[in-house]
Symmetry: C2
Subunit: 378 residues, 2 copies
Amino acid sequence: MRMLLTPGPVEVPFDVSIRGSMRMISHRGPEFSSLYSDLLHQLSRLFEVEEPPIPIPGSGTGALDALCGNLISPGDRVISISCGFFGERFREIASRCGASLEIIDVPWGESLEVHHLLEALERFPNARAILLTHNETSTGVLNPVEDLAGSVPKDGPLILLDAVSSAGAMPCLPERWGIDGVAASSQKGLMAPPGVGLVWLSKRAWSRAQEVRCPSYSMDLKLYKKNLTDAPETPYTPPVSLYAQLLKGVEIILSSGKEEWWKSRARISRALCAAVEAMGLDLLVKSPNRRSPGLTAIKMPPNLANGVRSSLKGMGLQVAGGQGGLKDSLIRIAHYTDMDWPEVCMIIGSLWRALNDLGVRADVGCALETANKIMSER
Amino acid sequence: MRMLLTPGPVEVPFDVSIRGSMRMISHRGPEFSSLYSDLLHQLSRLFEVEEPPIPIPGSGTGALDALCGNLISPGDRVISISCGFFGERFREIASRCGASLEIIDVPWGESLEVHHLLEALERFPNARAILLTHNETSTGVLNPVEDLAGSVPKDGPLILLDAVSSAGAMPCLPERWGIDGVAASSQKGLMAPPGVGLVWLSKRAWSRAQEVRCPSYSMDLKLYKKNLTDAPETPYTPPVSLYAQLLKGVEIILSSGKEEWWKSRARISRALCAAVEAMGLDLLVKSPNRRSPGLTAIKMPPNLANGVRSSLKGMGLQVAGGQGGLKDSLIRIAHYTDMDWPEVCMIIGSLWRALNDLGVRADVGCALETANKIMSER
């Protein structure tokens, strides 16, 4: 058994993987138009939005670049509230577009809360945008984006969301929540290989984009929007085979019923968290309702993080360590994808064995029973 | 039979295609490092350069964006000499970075010549960069880039080259020729699916890049250069499976012997051109030594371009029409990839039949005999 449990790229489901070998088609013709049209339609269903999220060639980082490049003009005051590594990267990306940044740092492992946002709005009333991270992959925090967005006045700053590691694996409903811009990516909750970014803008954001000169031609979303007709086209060559793979990933989620899919991911997360705690380990994120349904960050006993990771690697399971200051004290296990009870057993049993081999005793039976109780809740 | 003969994406060879279904690997680990290291090494061999071309997620347009974004600061005077659609796009991309453009337009179908460049250098002595297109896909012109670069003084403007549709299918030797920056892409002469751009900088260009603030985080080549060590890493998630496919495409070229590969592509081009002329058709590019080894643009009898294209499509062969003002008077046939005599017969015989069905008579035997003579030269 060999399984990628790192926070992206993820283990790509077979039906998605196999499309990577598709016979190539021209991107100027009815076959691609039909693929692209399906992709736009299914993505719109997934995000419950009227205008489709736009796929662009690139990584999640590229999608964040496109989001900022289309909505931030040099000198714009931008509030960045960050609780981890990816919040800081979002900030760096905005600063490249000339944003005048107002920074609020929340300790790693904690979440962005409404009071942080209200303080920021009071301190910087003329901000033009707020940068938020949905699922902070470096710590396994799920930020309460719906509540956060709900606390910003309708005529307030644009709310820009990094949903790179949330989209697909958990609800991300920008139109319903009142978000203005979203960046996502193919290789995490959408279960495709890396190489496609997604960018969605609200009507208000599209009108802001008209005023902004995007410094990059290939990331100018206005060029994309022109051709989103019945027979949609891209302004330049798209990564055709990756689009086909991404479409399949989205279809897997939609055909399972997206609400049920999201509930299942959250259930797996709760089961793993409970099992980990039953084995006497601590989770980085204290508050249960701020734990990511897609990724769990587990504190390791002193100096054991690397040993546990390499022991798991020896069994075939590849997990991530911490990032930044947490590099040597965490392991992070991603579970964005099509997992169920067998994978939960695999993770718990293997983690238990790795700890056991390193002299850390725990009751694996109790851990599995705890997990099973949660997995049996429907 | 069904075959893509459009100027990219191309028909992907089977051995390249199949790697698109590879089992996903983490981009932080020895497996990816080894793949990436091989890719950098083989690309360096192909371009005969000391420092490797850098693969980035994106299209050829994205690679051009990265080239300009890393080397052009707002206000820099930049000379753009264009002979087609893609020369104009390169110009537009540079203008997004704030270039102050000095424009020279050469009629479509003609090539950029040393005298154009010398005039430009005299008129704009303080230019910081010159934009050149290697293979102008809209017209099938191959510009004499080695001669052009040789005519620019060593301390003159940086020479930036759009090699998006040349790399792989014809010699592109930037270090030997004295080019400073090159943008290329995966989906044409390198025979992989679209989604990877390549950017190469000379030592002089790297030192210029130090002074430029790249407006895009994901396209900042300095972030890439940091980790090009023995176990190279990318600054953010790369399109892993596309890198594996691109590596295979490059390996096919190198294992055939790149000089021999290039000679074969050029021979196919000459054979097709001669056959087309033997059928009484005109080529857009008058000068034989300015015709692209990768793509042939054929003038169609009045009002027949669309008919011929759709007739070829009916036989399974997908070719392109003209671009811009040439939209309805040309067909363009790409032959960047692993073709030989059978494909030449297929193209000539099918084109002859399409014309014949539309009432245009030609001697197909003579066309094939003419082509055969050229294909037999070794």
